[in-house]
Amino acid sequence: MTLTSTRPAGAEPDADPPPLGTSRRRGRRPGPADLALLAIAAIFCIPLAWVVLASFDTEASLAVAWPAQPGLDNYAAVLNPETTFRPMWNSVLLCGGATLVTVVCAVLAAYPLSRYRSRAARPFLLTIVFATGLPITAIMIPVYALFVQVNLVDSMPAAVLFLATSALPYAIFLTKGFMDGVPIEIEEAAWTDGATTLRTLWEIVLPLMRPGVAVVAIFTLVQTWGNFFVPFMLLLSPDKLPAAVSLFTFSSQYGQVAYGQLAAFSILYSAPVVILYLMLGRRLGSGFTAAGGLKA
């Protein structure tokens, strides 16, 4: 278990893997590997076809079908404060807030862990690594019981802080990796000039690791945006529920399920993370694979 030897790519602006030499010849005929990959990719797309087609089909059923009269009626039907805007805004508050808290705490915590060698640093980092493996599902009942005790159930700030904490161990680990990639020499000059830790961090280190911070932030946002169990347990009032939970209650709310509207709302709810993913693209993968370097 080495904690320091692997550093996720992405601290440097160009995170593309080095060319792999002979195994990747460009401009040749598609080989069996290409065909096999395309076949797997096609199979992966099949379940997606329904949600896309049904969202444009007012008569959508469970089975995938080309819309008889394609139109935006389903979107028009769900684009109202009750169904879409309020749950989405709650998601922004909950997940955006959690991401902000996570990133700020992770950057602050990563600084001493990355910059100073201390006897406490290694046990602390090991604890963080173990905490990344802790299944949050398994502690939700005690968390709920605790929140009942201190009257925090259905409190948005408490849910934000809990969600932030659940993402924090991995965020600290990732951020420390990115920070290790920033050379220390420039800071040493700033220190001798008498700059405080926070100023050095803000003015020198952060600008140099902006791509890394973006990976951590987007990674955290994607994880929290999709999280269902935490808001499902900790938030109760309908006007506080984020899109993850309101999508779940969608079918029960309207009795007869309007599948077209369900599909349209699914697409609206997924859109932000899909767009972020396409923006960050390959670099998000590097945040991801850092987990492989974690204990490898």
């Binding site: 329904w50 602050l108 493996g133 924090l168 999508l247 987990a291």
Partner: protein, 308 residues
């Protein structure tokens, strides 16, 4: 003074001991917000769950007004309950089928194919597979519900080619949710293995090829031993992730029909909230953690043994 600010200064030397302690505190300062959050919201609940699991705390009825210690009875209740063992067995099936076999082998296959495929094809496949992981859990649950439902897409497609209908969601729901979990989780394994394979020097493979080793032999005798650490790490991480899947199964089957897809997280949720037995639900959660811990230790031992 310059030595004091360099990163490699370890503990302070004797004359500056007091100053160095102050400095340690100052330096540790930025850790405070993270530590406070982790202690309050992560360590706190873990410690509290150990207490809760030995009580009869309940949402209503006995144990809701006065909580009392009940010793090990929550654990003995669980370990003697056929419903618990049903859930434990289903959790095992779900983890083995969807993580250890499904995600692991499909992810490895994808990573190996990507090494041989052309760059645009691997890029497109990568975007699609990772896209499935990006989608929110509840959306994936609905996608696979509509895909596998009796009058859903898969049966429509099977009908087109003249094959009989499948009834996975009612007949073998645990397999149905396993498929959904493979679809959703394979990206992780694929990326981990892609990174591990990229570390293998080209020359080694080339040498083996020249020595006349076939592709199968090269894989088992060369590639696999070289990425074994990534394999063990990956197996540990996907096992922990899969053990705690809740939303996906809850949306697709809600644990049913009956309890035929009720894995431990759903069982624990039902006990705690449908029946209000918080203490009992927490005991089950601790058993789930224990299973995860044992599995992790197993994978770590696998690593340690192979390193000798």
């Amino acid at each position: 003074m310059s030595a004091d600010v360099s990163a490699d200064t370890g503990t302070g030397r004797a004359p500056v001991r007091r100053r160095s302690r102050r400095r340690t505190l100052l330096r540790g300062g930025p850790l405070v917000p993270a530590v406070v959050l982790l202690v309050l919201f992560l360590a706190g609940p873990v410690v509290y769950s150990v207490y809760l699991a030995f009580t009869n705390r309940a949402l209503r009825g006995e144990g809701s007004d006065v909580t009392s210690f009940v010793g090990l009875s929550n654990f003995t209740d669980a370990l003697t309950s056929p419903d618990f063992w049903n859930s434990a067995g289903l959790t095992l099936v779900f983890t083995v089928v969807s993580a250890i076999i499904g995600q692991n082998l499909l992810g490895l296959t994808l990573a190996l194919l990507m090494r041989r495929a052309s760059r645009p094809v691997s890029a497109v496949t990568g975007v699609i597979v990772v896209g499935a992981w990006i989608l929110p859990e509840v959306v994936v649950g609905y996608l696979w519900y509509t895909f596998l439902a009796g009058d859903g897409s898969l049966n429509a497609l099977l009908g087109l080619v003249g094959l009989p209908d499948q009834e996975l969601l009612t007949a073998l729901p645990i397999i149905a949710v396993s498929f959904a979990n493979i679809w959703r989780g394979t990206a992780f394994t694929m990326l981990v293995y892609t990174a591990a394979l990229a570390e293998i020097p080209e020359e080694i493979e080339e040498a083996a090829r020249i020595d006349g080793a076939g592709p199968v032999q090269r894989f088992f005798e060369l590639t696999l031993p070289l990425i074994r650490r990534a394999v063990a790490t990956n197996l540990m991480l996907i096992t922990l992730q899969t053990l705690s899947v809740f939303g996906l199964i809850y949306v697709m089957t809600a644990g049913g029909p009956g309890t035929s897809s009720q894995t431990l997280p759903l069982f624990m949720y039902e006990q705690a909230f449908s029946y209000g037995r918080l203490g009992y639900g927490t005991a089950v959660a601790l058993l789930l953690l224990l299973i995860g811990g044992i599995a992790s230790l197993g994978y770590l031992r696998l690593l340690a043994k192979e390193d000798v």
